[in-house]
Structures are given as structure tokens and as C-alpha cells.
Subunit: 437 residues, 2 copies
């Protein structure tokens, strides 16, 4: 079996064979994607793209984040970029890419166009995301290191699978769609720090819709545009690694389930500590007053990044273990951008608590890990620790994602959660309404 035939099998996987665990993660991603998208509509790049496609006009087929409707590939372009605008969306470390922002916009736009059910959109996303991560693994780290942005490149193949499934492509049409995607996919990391980065997510989504639509309409393309001679992989990776990538194919294994969510609007290097402390807080009913001392061991690489002892601004709080630890123990949400004010940096209670905290770098602690001990005033020693690579319990993840969403959107977040929680009762059009209202 080649990568192409695995992708074709994946795209045609019967819904009944999708395991519940994968469905659950696809629904968490749907929620988180809608939240990030809604939260991104005020960003300048979102407004520019939205105005551009709404000025082009066209059939009102698919919903546009921020309001309005447009043809499917135009909506996918806007929604991909808008949902990646805050860089707060999900990440898969199997290939280092952001699956939701490139693939959900394609799935939802085509789902709305085709009158699909919401559950079908989530299924198409899941299979597309699985395809993108696997293609990204074949492309390998060398692809990313050369300068390609997997969110856009591998993402386009995922968007093609998702869009193609909802367009009802035959196996041969799906092969054509993937072949067209091979000549259409693009995206460079050198855009990071500019609007070009979120644009890349929109590119992936729009490419997926266009390639699937043309295949549906009778286009032809290279026989195997993915792995064939001078296909996408061989032109875009010096050392592709097909071996092993498909040893445990779906439905037996979904690598997508290792998807990670950004749950805190602060430096990534602080997230493991925050999770570890939050767990300890729940297990031991901690309060700041009960803490006598707190010691954190982190990866040495983070010491120069996020160990600001006495932050002066809200931005510096995002890079301060001492302040963030106090926030967690005091129950101050770390998920909302607006929490990080200059007033927070001047908070006397947090400043006093920060004096109890010490931090050291340990070569035994990885980039995604944190560990340490809390000495309570009664003499108890409470160890804490977390590895971001570990899967989070569903109930905890739900609570964290909803807290993040509330921080970003307030009450509107709960209405989005209700939609995702009741997905089987909804249509794609209902989800679309959630995007633009």
C-alpha cells in the first residue's frame, strides 16, 4: 500500500468505523476552532480578507467568520486566516502543524454548500486532519526545517480530503483532487510574524475546496501527485520518511488524537507548570495562604525566556513563572488575553506570593515538561508535575477549553459549547450560523 492508497482508504472510511475517542477530539477541536475564529474577527488581517471576498460577492453558500456568506472556497480562505489570527488554535506535534485552521474551514464551507449534517462535517474534518498529519510525517522534519509551513502544505491535503468527502467524490475523483492539491499546495514559514502566517491557513483551506470541486466536476491530474515522480513529496522534501508512517493506519489508530490545545494565553514554556499546579490545586484544595514555599524545575532552555522575577507589564506577566504560579493558586484565569494587564503586574498580593517561589533548570526536564514541590504551612510536601505530551482527561480538557473560551468570548462561548455538545441534532448550516453571528 502506498501513501496515496492509504489516503484514499482514509477519505472513504465508513462513519461507523470511526472510534469514539477520535470523534471526541474532533469535537473538542471544532469547539476550539470556532472559539479561536470568533475571537479573531477583529484582527486587521481578518477584516481585510473578509472585506475582499465580500466585495467579490458571489453565491451565499458558506458562512464567513465575522458575518456574511460567500462561495465555499472564498469562505474557506477567510475563515482559515481568521481562526489562525491569534495563533491560539490547536497544534499537532506529529508533523508540527495546526490542523483545525486549515481543515475545518474547508469542511464547514463544503458542508454548508452540500447541506450536510454537522456530524458529517466533524467526521470529514477528522479524516482530513488524520490525512494531513500523516502526509506531514511523510514530508518529515526536513520539510519543515527547509522552510515549509506544514499547516499550509500538509494542511492542504487534509482540506482536500475533508472537502472531497463532503462533495461525495468517488475514489478516482479523490485521487484527482489529491493530484491537483499537489500542484496547488504552498506555504512558507518565513511569513511568521506577519499576516502571511494566518494567510497560510486560509490558503490550505481554499486550496482544498478548489481542488475537490474541480475533481468533482471532471478535472484530471497526475496519477499520484502525492508520492509519484516529481510529485509533492519528492519536490518538497529532501528526505521523506514513508516507512513506518502507515504501520498502524486508521481506524485502528488515529494519530490525530494526540492533538494539543493552547489553554493559556501566555508563553508556551509556562504551560506545563500551569497544568501541574492546576492538578495539585484540585487534588489538595490549595490556596495561596496555605503555601509556604514553591520550587519549580523546568527545562534550562526556558530560564532565559519565561522566568521574569518581577514583571512590569501585562506582557511580561506572560513570561513570569512566579506571577503565573500565583495566578493559578489564586484561581485567576490564565486563558484570556485580557487578563494580562499592567495592573496585574502591579498586584501586591501576587508580588508577595512571588517571593515564595524559586525556579531552577534541570537537564532531566524536557521542553514540554515541568515538575516541583510545594511546601505547605502545615509542613506537608506536595509534589506536582506535568508533561504536555500526555493526553488530558476528557472532563478536564472540556473544563479547560470552556474556561479558555469564556475568557475569549464571554457568554457567547457557552452557546458555542452547547452547539458542539449537541452536534448530532445540528446541520452544517447551524454551525455556519454560529460562525457569523
Amino acid at each position: 500500500m502506498t501513501t496515496l492508497s492509504h489516503l484514499l482508504d482514509l477519505a472513504a472510511l465508513p462513519a461507523a468505523e470511526i472510534p469514539d475517542s477520535a470523534r471526541t477530539m474532533a469535537q473538542f477541536s471544532l469547539f476550539d476552532w470556532m472559539v479561536c475564529g470568533r475571537a479573531g474577527v477583529e484582527e486587521p488581517l481578518s477584516g481585510i480578507l473578509r472585506a475582499y471576498v465580500l466585495a467579490e460577492g458571489g453565491r451565499h453558500v458558506a458562512s464567513v467568520l465575522g458575518g456574511g456568506q460567500a462561495p465555499a472556497r472564498a469562505a474557506a480562505l477567510v475563515n482559515g486566516a481568521t481562526s489562525h489570527a491569534l495563533d491560539y488554535d490547536d497544534t499537532h506535534f506529529g508533523h508540527v502543524g495546526h490542523p483545525s485552521v486549515g481543515i475545518y474551514p474547508a469542511a464547514l464551507a463544503v458542508g454548508e454548500e452540500m447541506g450536510c449534517r454537522a456530524v458529517e462535517v466533524a467526521e470529514a474534518f477528522l479524516l482530513g486532519a488524520e490525512a494531513s498529519v500523516r502526509v506531514g510525517m511523510v514530508l518529515g522534519a526536513v520539510h519543515y526545517n527547509r522552510g515549509f509551513h506544514q499547516t499550509a502544505t500538509a494542511g492542504a491535503f487534509g482540506a482536500t480530503v475533508a472537502a472531497g468527502r463532503l462533495y461525495g467524490l468517488t475514489r478516482d475523483q479523490m485521487r484527482v483532487a489529491l493530484g491537483l492539491c499537489a500542484t496547488r499546495a504552498s506555504g512558507l514559514k518565513s511569513q511568521f510574524g506577519t499576516m502571511g502566517k494566518p494567510y497560510n491557513a486560509g490558503i490550505a483551506a481554499a486550496n482544498g475546496v478548489e481542488c475537490a470541486a474541480l475533481a468533482r466536476a471532471g478535472f484530471t491530474s497526475a496519477d499520484d501527485g502525492v508520492m509519484g515522480p516529481q510529485g509533492f513529496v519528492l519536490t518538497h522534501s529532501d528526505h521523506p520518511v514513508e516507512a513506518g508512517v502507515w504501520d498502524a493506519p486508521p481506524p485502528h489508530s488515529f494519530v490525530f488524537e494526540d492533538i494539543k490545545y493552547k489553554l493559556h494565553a501566555c508563553c508556551h514554556g509556562t504551560h506545563a507548570m500551569i497544568e501541574g499546579l492546576a492538578t495539585a490545586l484540585r487534588q489538595h484544595n490549595l490556596t495561596p495562604e496555605r503555601v509556604a514555599k514553591l520550587h519549580l524545575r523546568t527545562s534550562p532552555r526556558w530560564l532565559s525566556v519565561c522566568d521574569i522575577k518581577r514583571p512590569r507589564t501585562g506582557l511580561e506577566v506572560k513570561f513570569s513563572y512566579a506571577w503565573l504560579a500565583g495566578m493559578v493558586l489564586a484561581g485567576i484565569p490564565t486563558a484570556a488575553e485580557r487578563t494580562y494587564t499592567d495592573a496585574l503586574a502591579a498586584d501586591p498580593t501576587l508580588a508577595k506570593f512571588a517571593e515564595k517561589i524559586t525556579v531552577s533548570g534541570s537537564p532531566n526536564v524536557g521542553d514540554m515538561q515541568a515538575e516541583g514541590e510545594i511546601l505547605l504551612t502545615d509542613g506537608t510536601l506536595v509534589p506536582f508535575g506535568h508533561d504536555l505530551a500526555a493526553r488530558i482527561d476528557s472532563a478536564v480538557l472540556e473544563a479547560s477549553l470552556r474556561a479558555k473560551a469564556f475568557g475569549l468570548l464571554g457568554g457567547a462561548a457557552e452557546r458555542l459549547w452547547d452547539m458542539v455538545a449537541n452536534l448530532p441534532t445540528l446541520s452544517a448550516a447551524d454551525l455556519g450560523l454560529g460562525l457569523r453571528s
Copy 2:
């Protein structure tokens, strides 16, 4: 000066500094592009793309080959692919790409949207085409050999320059547009032989329009997406060759002027012979009856390709030196696809003439060359020869392009010629009308 700053200078070149020789070639390309476009509207891929964007709908801003109007980037997509459908459009061997089909669709669509004059469209095309060939030269043969289709990749940068000039971008906006193009450009040669090949030309054109439009609306992008770290060139070429490419920049030198046109609807390996014989025909008033013997020396590589001694079908005539030589001397047009019928292969006069012809391979004759002698019945020996690399006299080129156009479109061709011959009196909208009527 970097490639980026040269491109920015090029995009902003005052119209008064454009030499007449370059203008002339841009106008020949405009005519040939419109002819190839009009001739391609019945191809299946053209119909599919046209139906797709017309179904999307949107503002009637730019003309679509075959009828209808659409938003600029949608029209550019259709027109790029449609004009490349017959693979009969111009070629530049500086980077091996087809400039017109990727760049004129962008220039004309934006020219129509912006209410430009037709001459401004041709100028924007010229500067865009010059940009694309130079970028293609920087990317180098290694880029093409790895599997990238310069028509699409370098072409997108040309389309961006052309579209950006007509959108009136500032220098900094043009830099942004080129930066966005760096993350948007794509296209693989592995699509050759499928609809994916002409699609690549449409991709280039649509990308150029989109990137220029977003830059105009306020987008940001990588500082130097072309030559910067992990920019387009360094991610897409293992051995870029910037040195020398800009030694003689415009307006002093336009490499675009070396553009070549396909003037005969037969195997490329026969074109040098056809041109050489056509010249001899004009100079010596030859007729088939006056020819006693004809000997052709060609590149050895062509002997196995286009030396079919006794063609059985119209298709085989396209690969027959003997038949094509007789056609030239008998005044039978070689430019029209419909000339090559099975009846032509069975023509007794051509069959009889073919007996007078001998062909040999010579290592001294290059791929783009042909030479030989004609022995007349009166004993005169008439040498002939041609090198496709040589520039053709304007009057001869005009006659050849008009003959090709007439063969493809009949009387409609002359109306297109009249438009191009009277370009200063026309608007972009007039050209658009010529596309869709």
C-alpha cells in the same frame, strides 16, 4: 541591489522608458495569447473551470474566455488555464516557461477592474513577464529539473507584478505583494499530460491577482519573500543563480524580447525546417514542381521523433519532415490544428513529393536548428536553414502569427489583430470584450 529591489524598480518603471522593441513583442504576445485563449474555450478543462467560477458568481468585473464575467481573481484562473489548454502559446527559454498564459490573464482582469487603458495592460504584462523570466533565471534549471513548473512558480511573481502595477501599489505594497506571492506560488511539472498543466497557468494568474489585491488592502508579509531566508527561492531551488541575472537590467535590456511563438501545430522538432523552407520559398519563388531533390540535416535527437517517412494519419503528419516540407512548398498552412487530417496523410501529391526528400542527422545541428539544400530542376542549388533561437523580423512574425490565428479562428482572428494593432485607442474593457465575444 538585490533581486527584490530590481523587481521593485521593474514594477515601477515609467512607461516612457519602455523601449519600442519590447512593446512590440508584448503586443505580439497579447495577440497570440488572445488567439490561443479563444481557440481553447471548447476544451473540456476550460468548460469545467468556466462553469465553476460562473456558478460561484460575484461581481462582473473581468471577462471570462468563452463568455461571462467574474471577479478578477476568478477570471484570471479560468483565462490562464483556458489559454494554455492547447499548449500552443508563447515560450521563453531563458527559464523555460510560458509567460503570457500566467501573466496576461492577471493583467487584463485587473486592468478591466481598474478601468485601465489597453496599453497599460500590455505595459504591465511586459514588466511582469520580464520579472517572471528573471526570477525564473534566478531559480535556475535545477528548480525546473526538480519538478517545478516555471510557468506557474516564476509566473506567479510576474502576475503579481503586473496586477500590482495596475492596482497602483506603492513600492512597499509591491514588496508585500511579492512576499505574499512567495507563500502562495506553486506548480509541478508532474501534471504534464493532464488538465493540471493548464491549471498551473491559471494558478499563477489567480495568485498574482489575489496577492496584489491583499497588499493593496493593507496586508503585511515577509520582508523579502523572494530571496530572504526561507523565502521562495531558497526553499524551491538547491542552486539559485542570482549572479549575472541582473547585470543588464531593464530598461536597458529586456530578456523578454527573446520570447518564442509556436507557429506550427506540429512537432517542435520540425519547426526550424519549416521556417528555413518558408524563407527559401519567399526568396526564390519555389514551387513543388521546380524541386528535384531536397536534403535536410537535423539534430540526431529528432530522427526518432519526427522523421516518419510515410504517415498514415493526420497525427503522424505532425511528425513527418517529408510531408511537412511538401506542405510548405505547396503553400498548405501548417499552423492550424484542423489541417492535420487523415486525408492529408493520404494526399497523392504530397506522397509523390516526399520521394524527393532525404533526411540525415548531424551532430553540428542543434535542437533548435535545421539546414539543408534544395536542388532545383534547372540545376540550381538553394541552401536553406534556420535557428529558432534567432529573432524573427517583425513583419515576418506578424504574418506568421496572423496566419496561425486565421488557422485557429478564421475571420475572428483578424478582428483580434485589428484590436492589437490599434491598442492605443482601446480600453482594457475593449480587450475583455474581445475575449468573451
